[in-house]
Amino acid sequence: MTSTTLFQPIAARPAPINTSGPVAWVKTNLLSDWKTSLSTLIISGLLLWYIPQLLSWAVFHATWVPNHEVCHNNHVGACWGLIAEKYRIIIFGRYPYEEQWRPLIATILLTGLLVLSCVRAAWKTWLPILWVVVFTVFFMLMYGNVLGLEKVETNRWGGLPLTILLSSVSLVLCFPIALVVALGRRSNLPAIRTFCTIYVELIRGVPLISVLFMASFMFPLFMPPGTDIDVLIRVLVGITLFAAAYMAEVIRGGLQAIPKGQVEAAATLGLSYWQTQRKIVLPQALAMVVPGIMNNFISTFKDTSLVTIVSLYELTGALKLGVNSDANWRPFIIEGYLFIALIYFVFCFSMSRYSRWVEKQVNKSKLR
């Protein structure tokens, strides 16, 4: 009948030579066809035109001495002297000048804590304890009234310490609230589901500014006379509740992506509702929405600049306060904005890089 042919596997061959190196890169990316070449030409022309002008303004013709008269006579260059002159008020706001070593230490401690909390080796049981300790020290340093430190009311706190305080506290507190609300919106119990839905829709329906106004001006009207909750705390609660509503929706998106079979498998293994959420559903759901969570973190960090409208002078507010009140320096506020933009960028960019690292960590199980 038919003769069987012997199966002859083809021997493995090396992959084709990889064209790499700068010349190959330029060829494929910048000059591949006439359209690409034309746009490369136009864009490099624009860059050649603008970059020298920018450098001329920012570097070659800039004034570096903190003297506003020299700045006024220099019509073509930036006035970086403003930063040397005003950096204390930009960074520390209205905090008493002689006492500004206190917010400096407090900020370094808090930033150190935040950086430490990002490191895997620090995810131990002592970390929450360290948080309590650092926050206690932070408030003791900032508020004073103990250990011979002069008392400084919260309405004089400002600048970078306030920005970092507002964002770190609201981010840490909004996360557990968001988790509960996200789970609540998927609950089988109608009362819980309705409550969580109303909360999210109400908060999402108004701008952060109006939430801050309510926390700052309207909330005291509803309280019995004599009760006085510090405006800083009211604003913190406002930002936290605001951020939590958005975060809850991001997390809910992740929850919805978990196949029903995962929950069924957990049920057949005897896991309770909370065990299933904690061990099976949330780890997978949160891993999926890391970019969205970090997006919210970054946006909340920058949103803290809105607290200026209720007279808390964080970084942005402190800049306006310090420069606009001084007629000599007022024309150079743009240089001040560039300075705080750099500070914001350093924080936001670090958060974004950290988010990439977290994504890699949580996706390890997907690597083949």
Binding site: G261, A265, A266, A267, Q275, K279, Q284, V362, K364, R368
Partner: protein, 251 residues
């Protein structure tokens, strides 16, 4: 056949279930399963096979009738459900392994968190089960790094870690490549010889012939016919089962 004189481990008594308002998926199911009995359930898709076995560990609720598993009647009572689930292991068509946990963690999760075993002991017991399904060397890999057949064997080992009295299989080989079906069936055949009560929804008729004490044929939410495999395959009683068998055995 398994001994019939002992009291049944699973009893369906006029069980009815609907999906929504119109779809009557289980109709007057009467079934009793003896301890150690091995049952294969077959039938066309939509006939209620999966729903039937998913009622046994309350992944689905029945609305009428009584369903008693290992002496416990299944109702809305959470304690009863928990008690039944301790005795019933389940293997799914889509494996449903936890992709973010390693194979070993998949196996130790429930013994550690539900059974409160110390980690070391749970891992030792898990390794015994992994050896039993011949996959111990993959213990520290993640599920998605394994082939389908390997994943399904992990899922079987995970269910066995709870030392269940009853094992439910919901089309365990339907999502597998032909070459992998055998490795899973081999594990199941080995299990069948160990006296565990098995209910298996499958169309693997070779498996049914080899291990089943009884074959149940379902259609449109009812048990149409049940018999020992020899008689069921060689001498089906109803027209519907003859028609079904001619389709699945005819090629």
């Amino acid at each position: 056949m398994a001994e019939t004189q002992s009291s049944p481990i699973i009893t369906f008594d006029k069980v009815n279930k609907w999906y929504g308002n119109n779809f009557h998926v289980l109709r007057d199911i009467d079934l009793s399963v003896a301890k150690g009995e091995r049952i294969v359930i077959c039938g066309p898709s939509g006939s209620g096979k999966s729903t039937l076995i998913r009622c046994i560990n309350r992944l689905e609720e029945h609305q009428q009738g009584h369903l008693i598993v290992d002496g416990v009647e299944l109702t809305d009572d959470i304690k009863a459900i928990d008690q039944v689930r301790k005795e019933v292991g389940m293997v799914f068509q889509q494996f449903n392994l936890f992709p973010h946990l390693t194979v070993l963690e998949n196996l130790t999760l429930s013994p550690m968190w539900v059974g409160k075993l110390p980690k070391k002991e749970a891992e030792e017991k898990a390794m015994i089960q992994l050896k039993r399904v011949r996959i111990a060397e993959q213990a520290n890999k993640y599920p998605l790094q394994l082939s389908g057949g390997q994943q399904q064997r992990v899922a079987i080992a995970r269910a066995l870690c709870l030392k269940p009295k009853i094992m439910l299989f919901d089309e365990p080989t339907s999502a597998l490549d032909p070459e992998m079906i055998k490795e899973v069936l081999d594990v199941m055949i080995a299990m069948a010889s160990e006296g565990i009560t098995m209910l298996c929804v499958t169309h693997e008729m070779g498996f049914a012939k080899a291990v089943a004490d009884r074959v149940i044929f379902m259609d449109q939410g009812q048990i149409v016919e049940q018999n020992n495999p020899h008689d069921f395959f060689n001498n089906p009683q109803s027209e519907r089962s003859k028609d079904f068998l001619s389709k699945i055995l005819g090629h």
